[in-house]
């Protein structure tokens, strides 16, 4: 509930103020150049700060007969107004020599224009009101943005942890908004303050001096150079000093310092009146400096960049909004007649795309399928199978299309019994991986008439199409349907077919546990690294299968294949003769490359998952520490890889090899048990910025991640996601 309110407000605020913000931010960028430009003028005298006011005035008076005032601006430039040939002249001076340095900087027409547009859009008072309001809205946009980021990241403490990339606009929007948040909030608040001041909603208070004119003395006469205040105040404290207008004793020196105003008797130097500036005046000055960057180059640059970010954030923000797939689902089957109901909990719409794949496949098979969002849950009179496919938002919250689901589920009890299965979409680099899917599953388990078809939630990490299609096939088998999902072209990576020659192959009779190794040579110079995938299509119209590549040498790769009795692709590969050529394409899998920088690496695999690791170990010419944990059925299972491993241990490219066999001991030993045993060493690897790589079945991945989670908690006092975000945990599981 709360999420949609925040998101809606964020959007509405942005839409309603967009034009004003666009104008204000672009002119703001222009205006941020002005203070930098001014500050760079050569009117600053480096060793003048030490001068006292008395010395400064003496230096100036020596050069000019009739001085009216001396001022110092935000840039520290000292200027004087003097009468020369009965004309007022103002210019910058050197307070040490009294030399004229140059004319007062005039506001260039471009800045004048930008200032007017920035302040009032050339609409005078109504314009100022609009800009003031836009400033306030900008502040609210920033606040709602902070909340949205905190929710997305799974808590305010994870505010600055890395952002999961969904698409360009979303990623840039989140990443940049976090960086420019501070200047934007400061700009917005100081802008609001200045507007309030302008509309007198913050009352300005002024200094008024009460002068007892009757008791002004002309004695004891003192030269101004001996006036206490002028002697003891450094030039750096000065705003300006106005000389006595005439020689009447009623005319005095008016001295404005950083924090106070003082009137000095021109004959005796006695203070006539002294008033501190009120808080409002000082606060207003701060607001002005913070808003304009006057006098500081660095802050002006920060403000300029902050301003520049506003149009960029507007652009990416609207792009996020328009790119978010709209949930216009067209159902051909009315919901009363649907046997299959697919409900989707989606945030960005990606999950919906995946659900649609299943939906259209069911329809293609002639099944009555109905697709809807989770919040559309109601009574489905003919429902036999309910499939819930859902993402998770932030800290295990419901995504925007599933907010009312719990309530609805309790409200609409189905009359007929039905089966349900839950698929969770998420990313393991977030701490609350698929939490909402787990909660939904629990909820359904306690719902009347609902029976679990698959007791466990099937999770899909980082939108893995393979994981999803595996589930779909398994689910199809349970409901008696042959489900073969095809990757939509949008999701399919561009790949180029390239020829591979079979160099070596384990013969059918030498297979152990139905597993065999293939050594392939690419003849077309295709680039691939260990961990990349080889996509093989076993026949026309068939779906691609992916195998993890181990790179043994230039152009030479190995894949480790498990033969399934009915497996199209594995049997196709098994019957290939040595020397035959077939075509396949390389799919880059950058997230599963061997870390270049890590000194220590732990590799964990079961069965054929060892394939890519064989290549990684072979390429470890620098002999960095590598520990390989491998789980197989029996000691025999190792035979296939044994020569390779012995060789690597001997040459030093592999440090240790620790196998676990699940079928030999009386007590079954799995690879996760090894991880638990060696927890301390593994923690050490993670602490030293080493990397843990996991390759094999999803079931193994789950168990190993559980162990790693407790190792992180126990030895490192951190969540596993911390290391996942740092790419210290890499996975390729199927």
């Amino acid at each position: 509930m709360t999420l949609s309110i925040w998101r809606y407000s964020h959007l509405i605020l942005a839409v309603s103020s967009s034009l004003f913000l666009l104008v204000a931010s672009i002119t703001g960028v222009i205006l941020s150049v002005e203070p930098i430009n001014n500050k760079l003028q050569p009117y600053s005298i480096s060793n003048a700060e030490g001068l006292s006011l008395a010395e400064t005035l003496a230096n100036i008076n020596a050069r000019y007969d009739d001085v009216i005032s001396v001022s110092q601006d935000q840039n520290g430039f000292v200027s004087a107004t003097v009468i020369i040939d009965s004309k007022n002249e103002s210019f910058y001076i050197d307070p040490i020599t009294g030399d004229k340095l140059g004319p007062i900087i005039e506001k260039a027409p471009i800045y004048q224009f930008a200032t007017n547009l920035h302040r009032s859009l050339f609409l005078k008072t109504p314009g100022r009101l609009f800009i003031g309001l836009a400033s306030l809205l900008l502040f609210f946009i920033a606040v709602s943005g902070i909340v949205l980021i905190a929710k997305r990241q799974g808590g305010i403490q994870r505010f600055f942890s890395s952002v999961v990339r969904e698409n360009y606009a979303q990623y840039q929007h989140v990443v940049y908004s976090r960086i420019v948040l501070i200047p934007i909030v400061i700009l917005a608040l100081s802008g609001v303050y200045l507007s309030l001041l302008r509309f007198q909603l913050i009352p300005e208070t002024f200094i008024t001096h009460e002068i007892d004119f009757d008791n002004l003395q002309e004695e004891p006469l003192l030269d101004y150079t001996n006036f206490e205040l002028l002697k003891n105040t450094p030039l750096s404290e000065l705003r300006d000093i106005e000389y006595p207008f005439s020689e009447f004793v009623e005319d005095y020196y008016l001295i404005r310092l950083k924090n106070k105003e003082v009137l000095l008797n021109q004959y005796t130097g006695a203070p006539i009146s002294e008033k501190k500036y009120p808080m409002v005046t000082l606060a207003s000055e701060w607001a002005t400096v913070l808003h304009t960057g006057q006098g500081t180059i660095l802050w002006s640059i920060v403000l300029g960049l902050g301003s520049l970010a506003v149009p960029f954030l507007m652009f990416t923000g609207f792009a996020v909004y328009f790119k978010r797939p709209k949930t216009n689902i067209k159902n051909t089957v009315p919901k009363e007649k649907a046997r299959f109901v697919i409900l989707v909990g989606s945030e960005g719409g990606t999950t919906l795309q995946y659900a649609q794949l299943l939906h259209s496949q069911l329809l293609a098979l002639g099944k009555k399928s109905y697709l809807a969002m989770m919040d559309d849950y109601t009574t489905f009179k003919s429902m036999e199978h309910l499939v819930v496919i859902t993402a998770t938002y932030g800290q295990g919250e419901a995504p925007s299309s599933a907010i009312k689901f719990e309530t609805l589920l309790k409200k609409h009890i189905q009359k007929q019994p039905y089966h349900f299965s839950v698929v969770g979409f998420g990313s393991t680099s977030y701490p609350h991986f698929c939490e909402f899917a787990y909660e939904t599953n629990k909820l359904l388990q306690t719902t009347p008439k609902a029976n679990a078809l698959i007791a466990q939630v099937h999770t899909v990490n980082d939108r893995s199409f393979e994981a999803y299609t595996n589930w779909a096939t398994a689910w199809g088998n349970l409901v008696g349907l042959n489900i073969r999902l095809t990757k939509p072209t949008k999701l399919a990576e561009k790949s180029h077919k390239s020829p591979f020659i079979v160099l070596e192959k384990t013969e059918a009779q030498d297979m152990i546990d139905d597993t065999f190794l293939l050594t392939l040579k690419n003849t077309n110079g295709a680039q691939a690294n260990s961990g990349d995938l080889l996509s093989i299509v076993p026949g026309s119209g068939e779906q691609e299968r992916l195998y993890s590549l181990g790179k043994l040498d230039d152009n030479i790769f190995t894949i480790s294949v498990k033969r399934h009795p009915e497996g199209l692709c594995s049997n196709y590969l098994l019957q290939l003769e040595k020397g035959t050529t077939f075509s396949a394409s390389v799919v880059a899998n950058k997230n599963f490359h061997f870390p270049k920088k890590a000194k220590k690496t732990v590799l964990i695999a079961t069965g054929t998952g060892i394939g890519p690791f064989l290549g990684m170990i072979r390429s470890n010419s620098r002999k960095n520490e590598i520990h390989l944990y491998w789980g197989g059925r029996t000691e025999d299972s190792l035979k296939l890889y044994k020569p390779f491993i012995d060789n690597a241990l001997e040459s030093g490219s592999l440090t240790t090899f620790i196998p676990a066999y699940s079928r030999t001991q009386t007590e079954k030993k799995y690879v996760q048990h090894l991880i638990k045993q060696d927890g301390e060493q593994i923690a050490k690897v993670l602490r030293k910025k080493g990397c843990v790589m996991i390759c094999g079945s999803i079931a193994m991945q789950k168990e190993v991640l559980n162990e790693l989670q407790s190792i992180c908690n126990r030895y490192l006092k951190k969540d596993l996601s911390f290391y996942q975000n740092r790419k210290q945990i890499k996975m390729d599981c199927y």
Binding site: D65, D66, I68, S69, T81, I83, S86, K87, N88, S90, E106, K107, Q112, N116, K124, T125, Q200, E204, F206, I207, T208, E242, F245, S246, L254
Partner: protein, 166 residues
């Protein structure tokens, strides 16, 4: 040939006389005053103040000083703008920054001797964004006997003081 020389000599002499006499005409030095504009305490934007010389019939003669540097607001000082804009007067070089609430500005004003004690006045008119426009905020007679007297303003100006320049 001889006549031509005479001719040149006479032209040269004439020119010399003219030059000398004209420089004499120029010298009667202008009279210069220091003038202080003291503002009242008010809230709002900084004030635009225009100082003009007015002839005995109450007509604008010329602009002496414009306190205000953004011509966007000049038309707000209606009477003066009608005269100054209407007569294409060049006011570059006699403009200065605006001053606000409670502040004061000291300027130098110069007059021809003929303008003094001849019924001319100095007019100060003022305007503030979105607030009232004073056609005559303060007016001082250009009279050497009374010019040193403080003159109170009616609008944003508290008073005007003038003293002869050193």
């Amino acid at each position: 040939m001889k006549r031509l020389t005479y001719k040149f000599a006479s032209i040269g002499a004439l020119a010399l006389i003219f030059l000398i006499s004209s420089s004499f005409v120029k010298t009667p030095s202008s009279v210069s005053f220091k003038c202080m504009i003291q503002m009242i305490n008010y809230t709002g934007e900084k004030a635009y103040v225009v100082v003009s010389l007015i002839d005995p019939d109450g007509n604008y003669v010329k602009t002496l000083y414009v306190q205000g540097d953004d011509d966007e607001w000049f038309p707000d000082l209606k009477n003066w703008w009608k005269f100054s804009d209407g007569s294409n007067e060049n006011i570059d070089g006699i403009t200065g920054a605006t001053i606000g609430n409670g502040e004061r500005n000291i300027i130098s004003l110069a007059f021809e001797p003929s303008e003094i004690d001849s019924g001319h006045t100095i007019r100060f008119e003022s305007a503030v964004e979105n607030q009232e426009y004073y056609t005559v905020d303060a007016e001082i007679a250009l009279n050497s006997a009374t010019i040193k007297n403080k003159v109170d303003g009616k609008g944003y100006i508290r008073y005007i003081r003038m003293v002869p320049n050193k």
